[in-house]
Amino acid sequence: MPDETTLEGWAPEIGGGLTLAEVVERAFDYRGNVTVVRTDGAEVEGYLFNRAREVPAPFVQMYDRNGDGPLTILYAEIRAIRFTGKDMAAGNSYAAWLRARDAAKTTSGAPPAAGA
């Protein structure tokens, strides 16, 4: 089910059917930290909260692991993006909770814990 699929741990190869712009879109939708590898080999890990595609020099914006930022990185400076952080949305949808609640009610009569 869509709300239970996660990209956590994904390290896509850019090229060969997957463009950088597509990977950036996935990273933008991802509710966890990602690691951006720059073309010079330097890495920055953090939360990618924005991207601007339709500007002359497309860029992403991030807060790093310490919450510092925003850092702006041009698409042209990105070699790869890895989905390294925990997906904070995985399994936390309303639908997932309803299913857990119904299952818990059938087995014990008690609702699941908060955030289940």
Binding site: R31, D64, S93, R101, A116
Partner: protein, 340 residues
Amino acid sequence: MSVPLSQMWAVASYVLGQRLRGRRRYPLVLMLEPLFRCNLACAGCGKIQYPPQILRKHLSVEQCLAAVEECGAPMVSIPGGEPLMYPEIGRLVRELVLRRKYVYLCTNALLLGQKLAEGLFEPSRYLSFSVHMDGLREEHDEAVCRAGVWDDAVAGIREALRRGFRVTTNTTLFEGANPLRMREFFDAMMDLGVEGMMISPGYSYSKAPDQEHFLRRRRAHELFARMLANPSRRWKFNQSPLFLQFLMGKQDFECTPWGNPTYNMFGWQRPCYLLQEGYASSFAELMETTRWEQYGRRSGNEKCRDCMVHCGYEPTAVHHAFASWRGLRDTVVATVTGRL
């Protein structure tokens, strides 16, 4: 309707001023999110689904005030996260009241009694606590995934009322809500003595064929029509009666997402409070560069097809009240007679 006259007047003169200036798009309520942290973890709440370094961060009061200034809306809603966990919430509210902004502080009320006892707030006609209440005890505790929250919220409401604060409630309803229980809930809130209630359907998005979208909307209209049929004279809603009529299927509105723009630590959120399609660095950039035609039910955007939420459609209802004689007449009739 329970909105105080002074607030109605402020909003009416603001809207008329915008119309006289020929502005097609203008903000009505700024949704100001100083933080995403919360002391609850309600099922499916996207506001808290961030990595720890984001949940630890918050805007400064100066950033908040700059956004308020830039936007210019007469009302500021402070959702979250839980705004009572914002370390500078007292100063922020004081500054907004000084600027004569009508503030709705949206809270789950778990910390309300404590913050009131600390003397963080002073009663003002500009300040209203908007307490998250998703129904009677059973429904609310289930929605927030924790037993006892309803009782704590009721205690917080009582304490705020005792101290002379304006208190409203905000309720989000999903498919499957029981209209009869909701009518009991409205009675219970009026018994408590709140100034007014706000209701909205929740937002849910899933790809579906056209027919299913139509059915979902019809089911939502049926739910609200049953819930609000022959409304008790005691019920007071702190929102536009035309929006309630829209929920009941008696008005046909289109979304005006720019009516409730959202600002948080990421910037100005496109296009609305619910969808996160990117961020603009200034309010002007948000207004000028967002492709508004791609949103709303008639746009064909799958994410907007079933949406009827207040942050998109209530500003439309308010605009409609001032845009035509019919809108004004419907608003006046509903306000005076209490009929929807």
